[in-house]
Symmetry: C2
Subunit: 409 residues, 2 copies
């Protein structure tokens, strides 16, 4: 007869409901592996349950409510009163992780949060475990399934952003108000958490530069695909000199990149280090049963007595904002002699060398689509301003970063 | 001042040397994370070192010698005398894992072996951790870098097997005697270990059906690529009814499969389960520093006091040998009326329906390349025998399994 592991469940939405079902279904096998049989001892939702009562009857608190309040206060109290905590709440962990990890450490309990980043993809466990001894150089992640679904569908169908967003909303892949996802804020919270685990340094989520997918045009995707490129919303954190750069933006990838083949609502994370070259983890980034499975993995770890401590953050590493990238550049120009050389001169003046160009007639205008070699953001941005001022330009230039084949950023 | 964690290192080849360097380089960061500072307290090679002395001065034994003897006896003694053990020895773990895990359990020490399967790809940790509560349905793995390198190069250059093998040997990707790798035995040992972790059942390595890559022809790869297929040596373990099927063979993959884009000497493993849909882990499968990094991950786990127990094996699950696959079939036939219908009749008689065909003239002969829908191995094999007997056949038929787009086997 194995000792029960009593779970107080906060929140019973899609993930909470799936977790409840999964615990019932897997209780025997968890008991066999860990010696403790999980059971839901209480549930709190907006309409039912009492937090004090749940606290009195639980060994572990599983928080699947989301949001900062009242989740934060409840989890603080749970940790202080010696309960292990599992949370899938990326907002809470990215903004208040330090306080919560400190509370967990002080009270000798575990705070686990695998499901807060990339659903069932075990990136938290791998960073905190297998790689905790490695010096990590860079992480690129597709950590938002909604935007990856939208970009994949735009590429597949040729439809525009608004049409595909509406379809994603109809299918339940996007919220009624999609801002959090499509503007990159959700990805920013997740890359902040990964930054903390990879580099030991705390990052202010609100300071992470975010560029969303709202202004992506179908013809950008189509033209780039002629150059072999596919478009993803990528969250990046990397060492740059003695500092780090953390950012979220749409990026074109060459076909050899391990994230290039990740389609639909999947998530994937590539971790680069001199020691390991790189490893890539991929899988469903969302979905009730999938996310519930990540929560169950945390529960098994707690039931097994595994201890993963998050050391206190180091002094903040300096944030480097002027990083280098290759760029895709889309220009609509007047179709007359001399225009290409004008554009080339501006690029040359800013030290930007061009790797490939596609030019196409378009009535009286022409489209110039080019991919540059690596250049600093500042130089590229200055070139872009100057290009916008050219008389022969027929529309605002459009630029999107490109990760080159050597897999640098 | 952190307490040292003394490591006795058995074997100092490529991986052992890289591990020694990595420990020196990462000792401070491991001490910061775990509170214990790793140091190599003794090394045993064929020419230097004394096992008794190493035992007397170590807390952890790291075995990177390979082979069964003397590794097995040494590790048994280490476990009995209360040392934690880390081993990268797939042969030893796949053949004698049960005895070694039992010894570890009896003596309250850890036996870790992340590096024994797929190098730095953290599949052991994920199966034993994140997924230990999930009901796994199937694992497909590219777990041998040598064969993946050879098949990638054959596809890239169009060269034949012998030429590419020689190149792989020159580059150090293949051994002077490549049999262990190219015949699939290395992959069989690894999939036996994954089977044990995924399904809790022990499999006799020597009973795993293995088909190698030695007979793959460049034109098989070229023709299949016209059908969108890429060729990998895949190790599979899966539930089939109440039993399991474990096997290693070359397989064509459709482009959407998560293993289709894994090229060169990389390894990757896809774990499927109803709960999680699927997750895929990929990275370098070999290489001194990479494998050493996986060993260091195990060391960090031990230094952190993490405990992962492998429960005793269940009663062996019945091995199912007659599984179902789709097949690629390559026939060289006389180019005259009636031959295609003859072939089609044989296939039809065995319940084999054809999904796509490419036919091409070849002087007096014709090549028929087709991909079937799923059919049982027994039916397909019977059809193949009958096809071989056809008078119009000009060469032995060649058949290779195909994993269909629904990702079933």
């Amino acid at each position: 007869m194995s000792e029960p592991l009593r779970i107080g469940l906060l929140g019973r939405g899609t993930v909470g409901g799936a977790f409840e079902a999964l615990v019932a279904q897997q209780a025997d096998s968890v008991a066999a592996v860990t010696g403790r049989r999980p059971e839901i001892s209480g549930v709190l939702t907006r309409s039912v349950g009492d937090f004090d009562e749940i606290m009195a009857n639980s060994d572990v608190i599983v928080e699947l409510m989301g949001g900062l309040d009242p989740a934060k206060g409840m989890l603080e109290r749970a940790l202080i009163e010696g309960k292990h905590v599992i949370s899938a709440n990326k907002q809470l962990i990215s903004r208040h992780g330090e306080e919560l990890w400190a509370l967990a450490g002080d009270n000798g309990v575990q705070l686990r949060f695998e499901a807060a980043v990339a659903g069932v993809v075990p990136v938290i466990r791998v960073l905190g475990g297998s790689l905790s001894g490695a010096r990590i150089e860079r992480i690129h992640g597709i950590v938002n399934g909604t935007t990856n679904f939208i970009l994949s569908e735009m590429a597949r169908t040729g439809a525009d952003y608004e049409t595909v967003l509406a379809e994603a909303q109809r299918l339940g892949y996007a919220e009624a108000d999609p801002t959090e996802d499509v503007a990159g804020h959700d990805a920013a919270a997740k890359i902040a958490i990964l930054t903390r685990l990879a580099f030991g340094t705390s990052v202010d989520v609100d300071s992470i530069p975010c560029e969303g997918i709202e202004r992506i045009q179908p013809d950008d995707i189509a033209y780039a695909s002629e150059l072999g490129l596919s478009l993803k919303l990528i969250a990046t954190t990397e060492r740059v000199g003695d500092g780090i750069s953390v950012r979220v933006h749409p990026v074109f990838l060459y076909p050899g990149h391990p994230l290039a083949s990740i389609g639909g609502a999947f998530n994937a994370v590539t971790i680069e280090s001199d020691d390991i070259t790189e490893i890539t983890l991929s899988g469903p980034g969302a979905g009730g049963p999938q996310t519930a499975s990540a929560v169950l993995g945390d529960l098994v770890a707690i039931a097994s007595g595994a201890v993963t401590e998050i050391s206190p953050a180091t002094d903040p590493l300096p944030i480097v904002t002027d990083t280098e990238s290759a760029f895709y550049l889309h220009l609509e120009v007047e179709d007359r002699p001399g225009v290409l050389s004008q554009v080339a001169a501006v690029l040359g003046d800013h030290g930007i060398s061009v790797r490939s160009v596609v030019q196409r007639g378009l009535g009286e205008n022409a489209r110039l689509v080019m991919v540059s070699h690596r250049v600093s953001d500042a130089s590229f941005s200055a070139a872009l301003t100057q290009l916008s001022g050219l008389e022969s330009l027929r529309a605002e230039p459009r630029a999107i970063r490109v990760i080159e084949e050597d897999f640098g950023s």
